[in-house]
């Protein structure tokens, strides 16, 4: 699966963000290269939330940062609105970058421990030299918008706040820049379970109130489904599947997506869960099939083949290309096909299957 292709790209004129064939590689030591992201394509419509799903090491964070040009991708194009970022000079890039903002995983590390909340939130204004009379008022307004009481937190420093409050400050700081796109990199994974929902609701509300488009990067399938309109599943720097988030539970086809879903602890145990229409991809007790290959030397062809129960010689030889399998549903896999009929079924098109059938 883990394949290439641009079938999932849309042609609408009003796309706010377009990423074309983006490659991110980091050199490490003796001429070796980490292939963090290998040829990623994505686009974002106004007001849309794109969820990027994958386990650690799949390149999802590198992708988010490369979109922000921090650091610049090795190759490929990133365009924000009509403007292409990849060719900009440093000075122009500073301005363009501010149109996108990022919420990071560790809210405490994202705040300068020596600053007070009001300075943290106003940092963007200070950077751009804005010092109008309404400065304090807009800081207050933004703090209230993220659910913090300005009178209480005004003079506090990050260590006096809880993790959830710090994440709210980060969101307020991003909003002060009045961005078009908000990139959230695992924004809730370091938070307590009961606080996670507060932040997810806040992000959802903020997106609507501030007219944002959002990229939401996370490893938790349910969280991604909750907040996204569209989900992109990433494996070792390659895109496996793109689909509307509503179909994540029942319509996802890619063996890797199925593996992620079946890995949700408790998912298979819940009595009220409707019977899955697919044959579950069995997750083995043995560790042999579960080792994530090294991103220094990713497998040939389909990158998921070393862990895929359906893998054949074809997968090693040839990289699968994105193809459409349903409305807004795109897939890069040689072996999963959609037969006629309403419910998509997982079918194995291997040689043995044909002989046996």
């Amino acid at each position: 699966m883990a394949g290439s292709g641009t079938a999932h790209m849309r042609t609408a004129a009003e796309r706010v963000l377009v990423v074309d064939d983006m490659v991110v590689e980091f050199p490490v030591g003796r001429k070796q290269v980490v292939h963090a992201v290998s040829g990623m394509n994505l686009d974002l419509l106004p007001g849309e939330t794109l969820g990027i799903l994958g386990e650690s090491g799949c390149g999802k964070s590198s992708a988010g940062r490369a979109v922000m040009q921090m650091p610049k991708p090795t190759s490929g194009r990133v365009s924000l609105g009509k403007r292409e970022l990849t060719g900009l000079k440093v000075r122009e890039l500073r301005g363009a970058r501010a149109r996108m903002q990022m919420i990071m995983q560790d809210p405490i590390s994202s705040l300068n421990p020596r600053r007070k909340v009001r300075d943290l939130v106003a940092e963007g204004l200070a950077i751009w030299g804005y010092d109008g009379d309404d400065k304090d008022a807009s800081i207050r307004e933004t703090l209230e918008a993220v659910g913090l009481d300005p009178d209480v937190v005004w003079d506090r420093r990050p260590h006096e706040l809880s993790g959830g409050q710090c994440q709210r400050v980060c969101i307020a700081r991003a909003l002060m820049m009045n961005p078009d796109v908000l990139i959230c990199d695992e924004p809730v994974s370091s938070l307590d379970v009961s606080v996670q929902a507060q932040i997810l609701n806040l992000l959802e509300r903020t997106k609507e109130n501030y007219d944002l488009s959002m990229i939401f990067i996370a490893h938790d399938v349910s969280v991604v489904k909750n907040i996204s309109d569209r989900v992109m599943v990433l494996y070792l720097g390659k895109t496996c599947e793109v689909l509307p988030s509503g179909g994540l539970q029942d319509e996802a086809l890619h063996p890797y997506t199925r593996m992620l879903i079946s890995s949700i602890p408790g998912e298979e145990a819940r009595a009220e869960t409707p019977e899955s229409p697919h044959d579950e991809v069995e997750v083995p007790l043995s560790a042999s099939a579960t080792e994530l290959p090294s991103p220094l030397n990713p497998p040939s062809g389909c990158r998921f083949r070393t862990r895929c129960p359906l893998a054949t010689d074809l997968c090693a030889a040839e990289e699968p290309v994105m193809r459409e399998v349903g409305a807004g549903h795109f897939l890069a896999c040689h072996h999963v096909a959609v037969p006629d009929g309403d419910a998509p079924r997982l079918t194995v098109l291997s040689d043995e299957e044909n002989v046996a059938g």
């Binding site: 921090m70 500073r94 501010a98 560790d106 590390s109 994202s110 705040l111 300068n112 940092e123 950077i127």
Partner: protein, 346 residues
């Protein structure tokens, strides 16, 4: 809300603190005075009694303070601060203090030499072979010592800190060049470098400060660089860049305020290291020259059999040196514990 039982326990505890504290204080004081003032005892016995007395006194006062104030007080810290304030004030005000003669032998022709310390006499800490007053010499020694080391640390911190932050933030080429430079400076052990420098520099206060500053620069660069690297990896630096901050701004506004605390803590510890270095050099005869006093060359006066007969020639400046170094070490230690979470890595 504490229960009645807890309250009663606290009050019992407090009474005990006060009683034990008072007893310890009295016994300690008595031992210390006895040890100090009894002439018939051997030197070793005196010292042991005196030190034991001081230790008890310390414990006693500590308990008394805790009992009276109701919370723990870091007595050692406050004693150190007190000593440093006293020595710095004395050093600054030395010319205006009613002290004996400190370096002009011509004025002390009639003074007795090698008088032993006796608190209530004209020479409370005794005199040396030329009748110069040891208290005066110790305080003028402090003047020289502190001036040299503070100047050196200030220069070293500013220069080293700046280079370190720049190297740590830009990495790559700048970092390599700075790295080779620091490694070369660090390749010669500090005291050896000082000795080498002393062969061609006149031992003036300015030259000594510059030489010592040169010693502090590489360690400061390393510390500032290491801290810059750790902070630069924190996400708030990336957040600032994402909002469009320039590299200059990131360094000045995001990194420096964070790096300055560990660097400052290190500087305090370094003051004591430099005091020791200056004293060592003067002890070896390569630093400030007689008759101008520093603690190092005063201690050197005890060499060659003099110390055996007149131990106070070594002990008096030695005590000044020890207390000052101890106080700076302790302050630096506290500062590092508070501000430098990664000092252990260096």
């Amino acid at each position: 809300m504490p229960s009645k039982k807890a309250l009663r326990a606290a009050s019992v505890n407090r009474t005990r603190l006060l009683t034990v504290g008072a007893v310890l204080t009295v016994v300690g004081l008595a031992l210390a005075i006895f040890g100090w003032s009894t002439p018939s005892l051997l030197l070793g016995g005196k010292a042991v009694l005196f030190l034991a007395g001081v230790a008890l006194l310390f414990q006693g006062v500590n308990r008394l303070l805790q009992g009276v104030l109701g919370r723990r007080v870091d007595l050692t810290l406050w004693l150190c601060v007190g000593w440093l304030v006293a020595i710095v004030l004395a050093a600054i005000l030395a010319p205006y203090l009613p002290l004996g003669e400190q370096n002009d032998v011509a004025k002390t022709l009639l003074e007795p030499s090698y008088t032993t310390p006796a608190l209530l006499t004209e020479h409370p800490l005794g005199t040396n072979n030329q009748g110069l007053d040891l208290l005066a010499r110790s305080i003028y020694g402090a003047r020289t010592s502190l001036m040299i080391s503070l100047l050196a640390v200030a220069v070293g911190t500013v220069v080293g800190g700046t280079i370190g932050v720049i190297a740590g933030y830009f990495r790559k080429g700048v970092d390599s060049v700075v790295g080779i430079f620091t490694n070369a400076l660090l390749a010669v052990p500090p005291l050896i470098l000082l000795i080498a420098l002393s062969t061609f520099l006149d031992p003036s206060i300015r030259n000594m400060s510059l030489a010592l500053a040169l010693l502090t620069i590489p360690s400061m660069i390393r510390l500032a660089r290491a801290n810059t690297i750790t902070f630069a990896q924190r996400e708030f630096v990336m957040a600032a860049r994402l909002m469009g901050a320039t590299r200059m701004r990131v360094m000045a506004r995001e990194l420096v305020p964070n790096v300055i605390l560990p660097v400052f803590s290190m500087a305090v510890v370094m003051i004591s290291a430099l005091i020791v270095a200056e004293a060592s050099l003067s002890f070896l005869g390569l630093g400030i020259q007689q008759p101008d006093p520093t603690w190092g060359n005063m201690i050197a006066e005890g060499e060659g059999g003099i110390m055996e007969d007149h131990p106070h020639i070594v002990l008096v400046p030695g005590a000044f040196l020890f207390l000052t170094v101890f106080a700076f070490n302790l302050l630096g230690e506290k500062a590092q514990a508070r501000w430098d979470t990664r000092s252990a890595k260096l």
